[in-house]
Amino acid sequence: MDKPLFQAAEVLDMAIEIERQGLAFYEGCAAARASEVVATVFGYAAGQERRHIELFYEMKSALDEYTVPESYPGETVSYLRAFLSTRLFTSVDDASCSAEAIEDEAEAIEMAVELERSSIAFYSGVKQIVRESEKGVIDDVIAEEHVHIRRLLELKNWLTTRSG
């Protein structure tokens, strides 16, 4: 099979979009009716999403021609895009609106966990197709998203025990 040019820039754009949606959601939730403890965890996650956006912009500006094995050009992007289409939000606006519409903190946390899970899934796909030298960066982002999930689940537990 050929080893055609991979559209890495397009995938990085998708990663930036994912992080923007996460940022909009966390900021929206933190601003709307959240208790102090929830606002702190969401604010922390928002700060990291902001940093991830910068990271992906840096990676994009350092891109040069790069090839990965695909059976036709754009194959990997097609799967990534299909995968992305299952995400909770379809745009940054959608993420902000959802955040504003949420009444309940538990629901916000559940949505955030879902969002983080799908981001991890997406980045695991991205990791397969970036240069060796960039795999570490993606690993770090994945690890940070895992920490977000852990913190969110801890927060959910804490809220349940408090109310129970």
Partner: protein
């Protein structure tokens, strides 16, 4: 080399590598890249194989390569292979004509576990030329329909012109006891069907009883992890997901270690593996569903 497979030094090991001859009896172009060859052993004897197994095919001066059976073992008078022109041997195979001979060794490898599939719902997911080995399984199910539950086929090709086995696709689609979902990634003017990769109809349109379904998946490596993710999301057990893997082969029969995937030999333990066998084996990372990505 594995201890158990080591060869007695007094034995003449060249006999393992001795191909027999098979005659080309028909040739059909399936797409720009693919031809299908129908072959018969020169001895006239039947070649018994399982769907998912492969033959080592050789042409003097061009080398040898593994090619999967694409015909069902229920159709026994001859066998069919579908070959993509990608290199020395396969390009030379595209030039073969009825009456020409090729060398064959095999059948080798573990195919789809038919005994385990019997009585269950069969979900086949094919991407690109991955439909070739699955055609063998699908036609097996077609010919022994009463022995199996539902038969669901999800097939994604890059473009309408690259769809393989168009007659079979139409026949399967016309059967009331088959559920078919075909898609192309890049539609052309004449295409009125689904667009998008195979994971889209798999996710959105396929409803299964995960306790009675076994999924058989063959396609490009990039497809596997996303298919695994969708199947796990549908509640399927990892043990009920079968993947056929490709690696570079040399001997094709567990002697040389060329195709090693950690402690497994793809040519002998596979090419069809259960997902459970692959999780955690770092050399099979292409199939791990995103959640299974472990450092």
């Amino acid at each position: 080399m594995r201890e158990a497979d080591s060869v007695d030094v007094t034995e003449d090991i060249t006999r393992f590598y001795q191909p027999e001859l098979a005659r080309v009896i028909a040739k059909q172009r399936l797409s720009e890249m693919m031809v299908m060859l129908r072959l018969q052993r020169a001895s006239g004897e039947m070649l018994e194989h399982q769907p998912g197994q492969f033959l080592q095919i050789s042409l003097p001066g061009y080398g040898e390569a593994p090619i999967s059976f694409c015909s069902s073992p229920t159709r026994t008078e001859s066998f069919e292979l579908c070959v993509a022109a990608v290199g020395n041997l396969s390009e030379a195979m595209h030039e073969l004509r009825p009456g020409d001979f090729v060398g064959i060794r095999g059948p080798y490898g573990k195919g789809f576990p038919l005994e385990d599939l019997r009585g269950r719902d069969v979900l086949c997911i094919a991407g690109g030329i991955g439909l070739a080995p699955l055609r063998s399984l699908i036609n097996y199910v077609a010919d022994r329909r009463a022995e199996f539950g539902r038969m669901i086929l999800v097939y994604g090709a890059r473009k309408p012109s690259e769809r393989l086995f168009k007659d079979d696709l139409a026949n399967w689609d016309a059967r009331e006891d088959f559920e078919t979902l075909y898609t192309v990634d890049e539609a052309d003017e004449g295409w009125t069907g689904r667009t998008g990769v195979a994971t889209v109809p798999l996710r959105d349109e396929v409803e299964i009883d995960p306790t009675r379904t076994t999924a058989s998946v063959v396609g490009p490596p990039v497809m596997y992890r996303y298919v695994a993710a969708e199947l796990l999301a549908k509640g399927m057990a990892e043990d009920d997901i079968l993947f056929s893997l490709e690696r570079r082969f040399k001997c094709g029969m567990g002697k040389c270690g060329h195709c090693q995937l950690n402690d497994l030999y793809v040519c002998q333990d596979g090419p069809v593996f259960r997902y459970t066998q692959l999780i955690g084996r770092s050399e099979a990372i292409e199939v791990w569903a995103p959640e299974d990505e472990r450092q």
